[in-house]
């Protein structure tokens, strides 16, 4: 692996001031794969804040990427509100049963207490360890699932979908109580000194229509973003899948950065909203980072940079979504090394050469 000349925090501050840096920020979004680097089971994250933080720190130290985050799966908030979760021994948690089975239970739904309910206190404790240890050198984030996506896990995915047609009030009610949980949790993130990031996977046009998103998702997500902004914090949002039809809605919420899936046209995204938000994305986490070779990764990173390096509000090289747990380490290294090789300021000519040239540089890294 090549060495960096700047710390991520130093790089971020310099970029914000328009000063010279060593390279573009790059965040492969390693997720629960950190367990493979640290050498623990993923299920240990369910009970040990220390292990969550240690694994994050170990992975950061190994790859030197530009952002660490406490976020283990999509379900801690729904769980804290009564949903049942499957906890595989060494894989990511998944939803077993929504918080309510019958819409008559809707009025029993209560917002979660982040310091008491489910795994939330463990995550908050992990945030403390993370910021204590890495706060000076790299941006530390607390991840949260947005209020709309979380509402799906409260009511059940199929149920909520049907209720959008049959009983709108129940969906709104679930989103409202979900939002209250989100607000309390982001306040806890901010209180620990970290920055919130929002994942809103179900807002995707791959899942719901822009019309439903505007009716049920956007109003609540916007209030969450506004709450975070009112506390003086910027927020980055990730939505999986297709999003082009809702870009303007998302930008209008007041987010600072938007992280896009690899199914989206990066260049088009930059051209349409790059003047208002930072763009993060979108190396394919599955076909390239998980299933590809370091050479494939290098090419994909260069192609992303070609499309978005000149984004007016900034660009971060990122994967299109959280990496699969078994993503080969050498591919994550290749992603970082390509960012280092590209350097800064980005030179489009050099990118062309890197793409057309043979991979002499890679054989060198692989030694």
């Amino acid at each position: 692996m090549l060495a960096d000349k700047m710390m991520p925090m130093e790089r971020a501050r310099a970029l914000a001031k328009g000063e010279m840096v060593d390279r573009l920020p790059c965040n492969p979004n390693v997720a629960n794969g950190v367990a493979r680097i640290y050498g623990c089971k993923i299920s240990e994250f369910n009970t040990s804040a220390r292990t969550i933080a240690n694994a994050q720190i170990a992975s950061y130290r190994r790859f030197g990427y530009d952002g660490v985050r406490i976020f283990t799966d999509l379900f801690p908030w729904a769980e804290a509100m009564g949903a049942e979760i499957n906890f595989p021994d060494d894989n990511t948690a998944n939803l077993a049963k929504p918080a309510i089975n019958d819409i008559s239970g809707i009025f029993n739904l209560q917002p979660a207490d982040p310091y008491r309910d489910g795994r939330l206190p463990i995550h908050i404790e992990a945030m403390k360890y993370l910021i204590d240890e890495l706060g000076d050198e790299v941006g530390c984030a607390g991840g949260i699932v947005g209020p709309f996506t979380n509402a799906f896990f409260l009511l059940g995915i199929e149920n909520l979908i049907k209720l959008m047609f049959k009983n709108k009030e129940v969906v709104h009610r679930a989103c409202e109580v979900s939002l209250e949980t989100c607000i309390r949790y982001v306040q806890a993130i901010i209180d620990q000194g970290l920055t919130p990031t929002i994942s809103e996977s179900m807002s995707s046009c791959t899942v719901v229509s822009p019309k439903h998103f505007r009716e049920f998702g956007a109003p609540y997500i916007k209030r969450l973003v506004q709450y975070i902004n009112s506390k003086g914090k910027p927020v980055t949002m990730h939505i999986c899948g297709k999003t082009a039809k809702i870009w303007e809605d998302v930008v209008a919420m007041g987010i600072a950065g938007f992280s896009i899936d690899n199914v989206v046209d990066l260049k088009q995204c930059k051209e349409q909203i790059g003047d208002r938000v930072k763009i993060l994305g979108h190396v394919d986490p599955s076909a390239i980072l998980y299933a590809g070779t370091p050479t494939d990764v290098r090419r994909a990173v260069i192609e992303c940079v070609q499309q978005a390096w000149d984004a007016p509000k900034g660009y971060v090289i990122m994967s299109g979504c959280s990496l699969p747990v078994e993503t080969p380490f050498e591919n994550i290294e290749a992603m970082m090394d390509t960012a280092r090789e590209i350097g800064y300021p980005v030179d489009p000519e050099k990118l062309n050469k890197m793409l057309s040239g043979h991979n002499y540089s890679f054989s060198r890294y692989n030694e």
Binding site: N32, N86, P88, N91, T92, N94, L95, A96, I157, E158, I161, K162, M164, F165, C205, T206, V207, V208, S209, H212, C240, G241, K245, D284, P285, S286, A287, I288, Y290, A291, G292, C321, S322, L323, P324, V325, E326
Partner: protein, 218 residues
């Protein structure tokens, strides 16, 4: 008479597209009352409605929720019409074993593929979600299936798809074809593990048809 039938078939198709469960039931009942052929009502009414809905989905007019509501309407109509089907309909049907791989409990996509396969003449055995690799293979052999269709939404569980393909390969069982799909699956991944890829439910049906047709030719 045939004017009435054509009108009802069109209405049936429309009520599915319009996601109107109650109306679909009413029209199906009306169809039966006039002693019209129930099989035709399914094929040219309900299935045609689902096919149109699938097209609207491809055109991004409809999304997954709309498709689910359409399929609810279709199933409601199916419940009315099924008891009136003759016994010998269909003849030999190609068989598919479908399920969501172990570790994942998202099954919207899988359910849609199942419905679309059923309405286009496949016999589908649904193993549900969170299914271990061996369970697919055992069941497929048991019913002499042509295809195993695997779905997953989460990148964390893709490995299990490769396992299914690998077991079949190890057994030198190349009669059973494996189809994969789901949010995180790409053609590149499918290619790498040696499976066939479909990007959405209607493409899955086309893929399944072409796979069984190929089998016949071989």
């Amino acid at each position: 008479m045939s004017d009435l039938k054509d009108r009802l078939l069109k209405e049936l198709s429309n009520s599915v597209v319009d996601m109107d469960e109650v109306k679909t039931i009413e029209i199906a009942q009306n169809f039966v009352k006039h002693n019209l052929d129930a099989y035709e009502a399914i094929d040219k009414g309900l299935a045609s409605g689902m096919e149109r809905a699938g097209k609207l989905y491809e055109e991004e007019e409809y999304y997954i929720p709309e498709l689910m509501m359409c399929s609810d309407a279709m199933y409601a109509g199916l419940d009315v019409l099924k008891p009136h089907l003759g016994k010998n309909e269909g003849g030999h049907k190609h068989k598919v074993v479908i399920g969501v791989v172990e570790g994942d409990t998202h099954d919207i996509g899988k359910n849609l593929v199942k419905i679309m396969l059923e309405t286009s003449g496949f016999e589908v055995v649904d193993l549900g979600r969170d299914v271990p690799p061996m369970a697919f293979i055992e069941r497929a052999k048991e019913i002499d299936a042509d295809i195993i269709a695997l779905s997953t939404l989460m990148t964390t569980t893709m490995e299990n798809m490769a396992t299914v393909v690998q077991i079949l390969k190890d057994e030198k069982n190349n009669k059973i074809k494996v189809m994969v799909g789901g949010g995180c699956i790409s053609p590149g991944f499918a290619n790498k593990i040696g499976a066939y890829y479909a990007s959405d439910a209607s493409k899955a049906v086309k893929m399944a048809r072409s796979l069984v047709e190929k089998t016949i030719v071989c």
